[in-house]
Structure formats: structure tokens, C-alpha cells
């Protein structure tokens, strides 16, 4: 199923929409920095599990580049982290079973790694894990092209 998606041509409009959505989630997180779940990270993971490594890395780099602007003295750390994360997930997706449990596991470890880089915020972490599955379902409904797509 995943290979079929990769083989298909992804329309530029769809790709632009993905970038816009990512920027939108980043904007929401920036406006409400403490009590907003990390929708952008969930979205990046879902996109990485759906798209090819190239597009996934591009998305990862884009999100990392945006996030780096919030703390310019450590510029580059999120770019590197998100690019590596999305590339790794996109390359290993064929070995993963598409289940919500795996998604939560990946998300949890990504949050831990991100926390090591930029600090933990317990409320954000818990909210992200709680809202991950409903959010995934919503994205699935909107895009029809996620890791969990039928």
C-alpha cells in the first residue's frame, strides 16, 4: 500500500498544502507555547510515514528551520533533528506495522529526543500523546493519504 503511494505522482498542490498545514500547526504552537500539543510533530511523523524520504526530509527540514527561529542562539539543532527524524522514519516505514500503538511509540520517543534538545514540558507531552490518535484520524479524513490510509 505504501509503495503504491510512493509510486504515484504527488501533485504539487498537495505538497504545497502539506507545507501550509505544517506552517499552520507551527503558528498555533508559537502563539500558545505552553498548552498546545505538538501537532506539527505528529503531522511530520504522519507525513514521513506516508511520503518518500526526499519529501519527508524536506518537510522535516522546513519544520526544523521554522522551529530554530524561536531560539536563534542554538540555530540548526531542530533542522538537523527533524530532517534526520523524518528521513529515518520515511526510510524505515516499510518495516513498521501501521498501528496506532506504533505511532504513539514513535511519537513518544520523538518527544523525548526533542525534549532533550529543547527542554521538557510535561503538559505539552501529555496533551500531545492524548490527542495524537484523534488528530491522526482527523488528518486521515482530510488528506486520505497518511500512513493509516486504507
Amino acid at each position: 500500500m505504501l509503495r503504491d503511494i510512493e509510486k504515484k505522482e504527488i501533485s504539487p498542490l498537495y505538497l504545497i498544502l502539506t507545507f501550509i498545514l505544517l506552517y499552520l500547526f507551527f503558528t498555533i504552537e508559537t502563539i500558545f507555547p505552553f498548552y498546545c500539543p505538538e501537532f506539527s510533530l505528529i503531522f511530520l511523523i504522519l507525513s514521513s510515514l506516508t511520503f518518500s524520504p526526499l519529501i519527508a526530509s524536506l518537510l522535516g527540514f522546513f519544520l526544523g528551520f521554522l522551529s530554530d527561529h524561536l531560539l536563534p542562539s542554538f540555530f540548526g539543532r531542530y533542522s538537523l533533528f527533524f530532517t534526520l527524524l523524518s528521513f529515518a522514519l520515511s526510510s524505515l516505514k516499510n518495516y513498521l506495522i501501521p498501528s496506532y500503538f506504533y505511532l504513539l511509540l514513535i511519537l513518544f520517543f520523538s518527544l523525548l529526543l526533542k525534549g532533550l534538545l529543547g527542554g521538557f514540558h510535561l503538559i505539552k507531552l501529555v496533551l500531545t500523546l492524548i490527542l495524537a490518535i484523534p488528530f491522526t484520524k482527523l488528518i486521515r479524513k482530510i488528506t486520505h493519504r497518511t500512513f493509516f490510509a486504507p
Partner: protein, 283 residues
């Protein structure tokens, strides 16, 4: 090339990460304007709206205080007009005028099933709210606090059948008692020979020690003569309880003085009771 593209991105990210601090700051200061333009403008707009809301609340508070002051002064002027010239005016016009700082704004967060009789507000004893505290809005009186918790309180409004408010006809100075019966608000104990007109303004009489004197309660809507001793008078309240989302409570500092006055008054009456038994009738 396609196979190498992700690696190029990783290398770019790594280069960004290992750049010297000054270069990083210079680079980010240039791109920050574009990247954070939308979030920062939305955030500043939201902050501006919150500031506006605070200002609006503050202005509404001032307006309420000013309206109460106007009501007091209007009442004072009316009394002054009725006062004989030989009588010292200042004695008659000495009123308690609440300032904006003496008002506590409380949002209505719940209502009873009729939506009018009882209001649950988000302020309690920790915000200097106490029982029997009068609740007002810029237009006029709403009711009084009947139960004050630590964080929440319940306000009983003039629509409650249990609340009676002593009122004064602004034009004729006739006293009456406002009480709710069903959906209507009535003015009770008005003798049939009393001089009343439709449209007369009713103010709080200040008797009972709960409500300050001179707050607007409502207007006379309808007068129906009855065969009984008293008139049947319908009142149109000035405050529409379904349209308000917050009330103002007159704070404790001023009310404390009132309470002290009340205690003193009770003490005097008790002392008088021993000397003149008839004083019980007056009480």
C-alpha cells in the same frame, strides 16, 4: 541525484548547526522577520484584544460607579429641593458615593432554570465578596449575594420571590416594597389613595441596610385599582437579566462601615427598648 537529495538536506542542516554563533544570529535575525511574521502578528493582535477587553471592563466599572453616583446625586438634589431653606443642606446630601475601585466585577457563569432568579458568579470570599452584598450593573440594581463560597457565589435577583427591596418613588417619595410574583414584578403595600403615575421611577430606599439608597430599580408599568386596600402596581425593571453577562459588587470596605452603623443602630434601639417599650413597634 534524487537518492542523494535527503543527504544534501541533512548536510545543510548540519552546516547550520555548526555555524559560528555570530553568523547564526545574523542569519536568523534576517529570516526571523519572514518566518515569525504570521505568528507574531497574530499573537500581538490577540494581546491587543485582551488589553481592549481589560480596558472595556475597566470602563464599564467606571460607568457603573458613575451611574450609581448620578443616582445618588439626583436623589440628593430631589431631597434638597424638598428641604426647607433654613435646614442645613449638607446634612441632607451626605451620601456614600462608591468609586470604581470599590466595585468588583464578577462574570455570570451559571443561572437557575428560570435564568432570572439566581445567578452563579465567579467571585467569592477570596475576592472580598460576602453575603448580602448588593450586585449592580451600569443600568441599575440586580440583587444581592445570598451565598458566598471561596471562589464562587450566588446572587439572588429581584426576580426571585424571596427577595424584597424597599423602594422610593422618585417623584412623590412614597415608599413601597418590590417583590416578584411569577414572571411579574410588583410594587406591594401601596395604598389606593397614593399618588402614582405610569412611568414613575423607583429607586432603592436604603432601608434594611443592604442596598444603598438611590439605585434605580425600575419604572411603573401599569397601575390597576383593586377592591382591596392596596393598589396592584406592575413594575418594568430597568435591568434585563437575560442581557447581562457580568455584575458589579460594591465591596466590603464601604459595606463594613454600614455594618458597623447597623450594629450601632441595633444597640441604640435595644437601649431604648428598656426605656420606652413602644420603640419595638417602630422597629
Amino acid at each position: 541525484m534524487r537518492r542523494w537529495s535527503p543527504s544534501i538536506l541533512i548536510i545543510i542542516a548540519a552546516v547550520l548547526f555548526f555555524l559560528p554563533q555570530n553568523t547564526k544570529l545574523q542569519f536568523s535575525s534576517f529570516t526571523q522577520k519572514f518566518v515569525l511574521f504570521v505568528p507574531s502578528s497574530i499573537k500581538s493582535r490577540l494581546l491587543y484584544l485582551r488589553e481592549l477587553k481589560d480596558k472595556r471592563d475597566e470602563l464599564e466599572k467606571k460607568l457603573t460607579a458613575l451611574n450609581i453616583q448620578i443616582a445618588y446625586l439626583r436623589n440628593a438634589l430631589k431631597e434638597r429641593a424638598n428641604t426647607p431653606d433654613s435646614f442645613p443642606l449638607w446634612e441632607k446630601t451626605e451620601y456614600e458615593l462608591p468609586s470604581p475601585a470599590s466595585l468588583v466585577r464578577a462574570n455570570i457563569i451559571g443561572r437557575d432554570h428560570s435564568l432570572r432568579c439566581f445567578l452563579l458568579i465567579d467571585k467569592g470570599k477570596r475576592d472580598s465578596v460576602y453575603e448580602n452584598q448588593p450586585a449592580v450593573v451600569p443600568e441599575g440594581i440586580v440583587g444581592k449575594v445570598i451565598k458566598a463560597g471561596d471562589h464562587f457565589s450566588v446572587v439572588e435577583t429581584f426576580h426571585s420571590p424571596y427577595l424584597k427591596i424597599a423602594t422610593l418613588n422618585w417623584r412623590t417619595r412614597y415608599l413601597g416594597l418590590i417583590s416578584a410574583s411569577g414572571k411579574d414584578i410588583k410594587l406591594a403595600y401601596i395604598p389606593s389613595d397614593c399618588d402614582l403615575k405610569v412611568g414613575d421611577t423607583l429607586l432603592t430606599a436604603g432601608e434594611g441596610g443592604i442596598f444603598p439608597k438611590g439605585l434605580i430599580v425600575g419604572l411603573i408599568k401599569k397601575i390597576t385599582p383593586t377592591k382591596e386596600l392596596f393598589l396592584d402596581v406592575d413594575i418594568q425593571p430597568v435591568v434585563d437579566l437575560l442581557k447581562i453577562d457580568a455584575v458589579y459588587l460594591i465591596t466590603k470596605t464601604e459595606r463594613k462601615e454600614k455594618a458597623l452603623e447597623k450594629t450601632e443602630m441595633e444597640r441604640i434601639i435595644k437601649e431604648l427598648e428598656l426605656k420606652i417599650p413602644d420603640v419595638i413597634k417602630i422597629k
